[in-house]
């Protein structure tokens, strides 16, 4: 099982370390050609405007969108959640837009609004959650399941093989959400997805 980690900008090394600690093989995605042969992809935290622009300019956006729409498992954290959203509050443009949900960027304000908490994650239980200039999911459409809420706001959701969360397990040291994602990948026939896309 080979997990691609989008390595355009942001905290991608932290995801690679966490996935490696769980026994998964990882590879960095910096160009279109790097997408070949991956069984899943992680979209890390970083700046969504930076990652989104590079996705478009480097020609990764469309092929990746095709793979995700064909069922390639994807896990977006923070900026990654924004890349996946079908709509971004206050913006007319979107990026991958593969996941039926609305997100609000910088929903908790500037860095002084960043915070740590613990909350229940459906199917896992209570886990620590670290929010850094984070977005939240302002609403989801039919078919998108809510997995976690903090103070009445949605901070984790799943739609088919797409998992999006607002917080950063990759820097809090808790592996539960990554484990959850790897189980999602194991249940997917990824060879079939790659063949369909090519």
């Amino acid at each position: 099982m080979k997990i691609g980690v989008l390595a355009l900008q942001g905290a991608f090394i932290e995801h690679e370390k966490m996935l490696s600690s769980l026994g998964a093989e990882t590879t960095e995605i910096r160009q279109k050609k790097d997408l070949a042969g991956i069984d899943a992809i992680v979209l890390p935290g970083g700046e969504s405007t930076t990652c989104g622009k590079l996705l478009k300019d480097l020609g990764i956006l469309e092929p990746l969108k095709g793979l995700i729409n064909n069922g390639l498992p994807v896990f977006g954290t923070c900026a990654g959640e924004i890349l996946l959203a079908e709509r971004i509050d206050g913006k007319s443009s979107t990026y991958l837009a593969t996941m039926p949900m609305y997100v609000k960027r910088n929903a908790y304000g500037r860095q002084l609004g960043s915070f740590d908490t613990t909350a229940d994650f459906k199917g896992i239980g209570e886990i620590p959650m670290c929010f850094i200039r984070a977005p939240y999911i302002s609403s989801v459409e039919d078919g998108t399941e809510i997995l976690a809420e903090v103070d009445g706001q949605i901070v984790a959701a799943r739609y088919k093989n797409q998992l999006a969360i607002s917080f950063h397990p990759e820097i809090s040291g808790n592996t539960a959400v990554h484990q959850y994602f790897l189980e999602m990948v194991e249940q997917t026939d990824t060879l079939n997805i790659r063949q369909q896309a090519s």
């Binding site: 970083g46 700046e47 860095q111 002084l112 820097i171």
Partner: protein, 294 residues
């Protein structure tokens, strides 16, 4: 749940982790900030004059007007940083009051205190500080810095100092990792830093915070060189808005940092960028900013 100081340290170091692999650009007005954001900057540094102009103007250089910083905060959605003078506790408090995302306690401005740096553990807002060697880096981290950058020699367009600082810090880290445990006490004494931080670097082979390159980066190749030498991201000060075509240069530097290992792409990115900032050789200048604050 009450927030502990440890929580805040993790959140503030965490924001720097989110900036990794990115370019932080100096901007002096909302228009430049928007250009930087559109080009893919992961953050902007708001300041009234870029280092090259500070150097040219001479005199005392201070924190920027908060109204000017707020104008930039309102213009972009990416993190906004601003500089305070070394040791100027009150300028830092003012920047925290306007909810800046990161404070750069910077040698580019005239130092307010020639002995003490700010006790950054007393602030909720994170700080980035410059360092020329491992001792400086760890002293700043002990004082509460959540991110480190090389000092370089700002406003020159000459990358030689940033290269020297990055190589030196990484060499010293490698040297520490090779020591026996019982040699670390002496290493702490020599570096003039707390033992716990020496132990952390020895055990992990890296600083406990993110380390960016800064000072004299003027071209996509300069930015890629700093990544090659182990920088986790790059600050570009005068290099963009002192050049002939800031949009194109900013865009190229962002892409060069992401794909610093791909010479074919770097060659394309380096084409037709217009004039680079003229620059001055770092050994031809009068004011040596890197020696401010040790």
């Amino acid at each position: 749940m009450a927030e502990t100081k440890q929580d805040r340290i993790q959140l503030n170091r965490g924001l720097a982790q989110m900036l990794k692999g990115g370019v932080i650009m100096d901007v002096t007005n909302p228009e430049q900030a928007k250009i930087a954001e559109a080009a893919g900057a992961c953050a902007v540094m708001a300041l009234e004059r870029i280092p090259a102009d500070i150097r040219a103007a001479g005199g005392v250089s201070r924190m920027s007007d908060p109204a000017m910083i707020k104008g930039i905060q309102n213009a972009v959605s990416i993190p906004v940083m601003a500089k305070c003078r070394i040791g100027h506790i009150t300028e830092a408090q003012i920047l925290q009051a306007i909810e800046i995302d990161y404070i750069d306690e910077s040698e580019v401005l005239s130092p307010a205190d020639d002995v003490y740096h700010i006790d950054k553990t007393q602030f909720k807002v994170p700080f980035v500080c410059g360092a020329r060697d491992l001792g400086e880096a760890l002293r700043r981290i002990a004082e509460g810095a959540a991110m480190i950058r090389t000092k370089g020699e700002p406003g020159t367009g000459d990358v030689v100092q940033a290269v020297r600082h990055m190589r030196k810090i990484n060499r010293q880290i490698h040297e520490l990792t090779a020591l026996r445990d019982d040699e670390l006490f002496e290493a702490a004494k020599e570096l003039q830093v707390p033992y716990d931080l020496v132990k952390s670097v020895h055990d992990n082979g890296k600083l406990p915070v993110v380390n960016f390159a800064a000072g004299g980066v003027a071209t996509p190749a300069d930015a890629a060189l700093m990544m090659e030498l182990g920088a986790e991201g790059v600050f570009v000060g005068s290099g963009i808005f002192k050049s002939g075509d800031p949009e194109k240069r900013a865009d190229a530097i962002v892409k060069a940092v992401t794909n610093y290992k791909d010479p074919d792409m770097l060659a394309k990115l380096s084409e037709n960028l217009g004039e680079a900032m003229v620059g001055i050789n770092a050994d031809e200048i009068q004011t040596i900013m890197e020696e401010r604050g040790k």
